[in-house]
């Protein structure tokens, strides 16, 4: 049931390894306090299919690598007050972006990954969303309000940023966050 006293939080998993979500869960006992204050309205760890309306904070893990992800991110942006890039893939492209050095052509990338370097049964998958020419950091697709770099970002840092935002305090990452 919606609880008007609680902050509505969503998390999204794009092209990333899920490590940032693991780090979110690594807040351990701090999650118990957090759960008193937030309502998780959309996430890979809850069973809600459509990104809801009126979300206060959305944490997004992973780079934008295909058309479906691009669509979801844009959809979420419209329905979210504060959107946060969570982790290096979302912030820089990171490992997901390694393919950007290879080529600007999705076909060439797929050929490299699924044909040229395949040991057995080389074939390009056809039942998946179309790749974008490059895997993009979120802020090259939508407006991003805050960035939490790290691969993964430390659990304590995620907790600190969410805590500051919920209390309406400024978030200054100086000396707190590192790439990688």
């Amino acid at each position: 049931m919606p609880d008007p006293a609680k902050v509505r939080v969503a998390t999204i998993w794009l092209s990333g390894c899920s490590g940032c979500h693991m780090s979110f869960l690594d807040q351990d006992e701090a999650l118990i306090d957090l759960a008193q204050q937030i309502q998780l309205v959309y996430s890979p760890i809850v069973d809600i299919k459509v990104f809801p309306e009126n979300v206060d904070v959305t944490l997004v893990e992973g780079a934008v690598a295909n058309e479906d992800q691009q669509e979801l991110l844009k959809f979420a942006r419209v329905r979210t007050k504060i959107l946060i890039s969570l982790g290096d893939c979302a912030v820089t492209g990171n490992v997901t972006g390694l393919r950007n050095s290879l080529s600007n052509s999705p076909q060439a990338t797929l050929t490299r990954a699924f044909i040229e370097t395949a040991d057995v049964n080389p074939q390009i998958p056809t039942d998946v969303p179309a790749l974008l020419p490059k895997a993009l950091p979120l802020h090259e697709v939508v407006k991003v309000d805050y960035y939490i770099p790290g691969c993964p970002p430390p659990a304590g840092l995620i907790n600190w940023v969410i805590g500051r935002l919920m209390r309406g305090l400024p978030v200054n990452m100086e000396g707190r966050s590192k790439f990688g």
């Binding site: 290096d88 820089t92 050095s101 960035y147 000396g175 707190r176 590192k178 790439f179």
Partner: protein
């Protein structure tokens, strides 16, 4: 005040330094920390990274403190909101120019670029990034040159020339195409001048030159300046 001494103010502290001293040295000698990337004590100043920019009272311009000599009566500001913004922007330009991906880099956690980004609060790169695919030279027995991680600080070029005295390393091309080269743009493994001294790997602030199979914390001296000075004074 003895002859040849210059009196000036750095962050409102009055200091006396010998004539000809660069602002960066004068600041350091008086305990004022200015961020740097290309500078190494003991090597010729280069003025390439723009991290050490300072304000000088009376001028609207910013000055690279490593290559600007002191003069009498100067009033220098080393920390301000304006400088912080410029340093953050310069650092983002460096990050955007090559494929800097910390999580797959040999220098992760011992990288000066990564450390400085953290200290300055650079939490993303506002410019579109170049995803470079420059050649990686791993033909040497143990030294590897990955140009995609290079920030063109020229520390390796200078240490090779000025300390080892062989000038194996240099640069080719300009702007974003600029690259470190070995001899006359040869493969490192075929170099006739390289003495395999590893000084380039020791001074590289990032993971562009490294020793294969060796932890970077082992390769790099904790205090690069001390290392270079000790070689210079031999």
């Amino acid at each position: 005040m003895s002859a040849g001494t210059v009196k000036l103010k750095i962050d409102n502290i009055e200091v006396n330094v010998p004539e000809g001293t660069m602002i960066l040295e004068a600041a350091r000698a008086n305990g004022v920390v200015i961020p740097t990337l290309c500078d190494v004590e003991g090597l010729t100043a280069y003025g390439g990274c723009r991290m050490c920019m300072v304000e000088i009272h009376g001028s609207p311009k910013l000055f690279a403190s490593c290559v600007t000599p002191v003069s009498t009566g100067m009033e220098i500001v080393t920390q301000s909101d304006k400088l912080k913004e410029y340093r953050k922007m310069a650092l983002q330009f460096i990050l955007s120019e090559r494929s800097h991906i910390c999580s797959v880099c040999v220098a992760n956690n011992s990288c000066e670029l990564q450390k400085l980004a953290n200290e300055l609060g650079v939490d993303h790169v506002q410019f579109e990034r170049e995803w470079t695919s420059f050649p990686v030279d791993s033909t040497h027995d143990f030294l590897v040159l990955d140009r995609n991680r290079c920030i063109l600080c020229t520390r390796c070029v200078r240490v090779c020339d000025e300390i080892e005295g062989v000038h194996t390393l240099d640069l080719k091309l300009r702007g974003k195409d600029e690259q470190v080269i070995v001899d006359l743009d040869d493969q490192w493994g075929e170099s006739t001048s390289c003495t395999s001294c590893r000084k380039c790997a020791k001074v590289c602030p990032v993971g562009a030159i490294y020793v294969e199979g060796e932890a970077l914390s082992e390769t790099k001296d904790k205090n690069v300046a001390k290392f270079v000075l000790s070689r210079r004074n031999r």
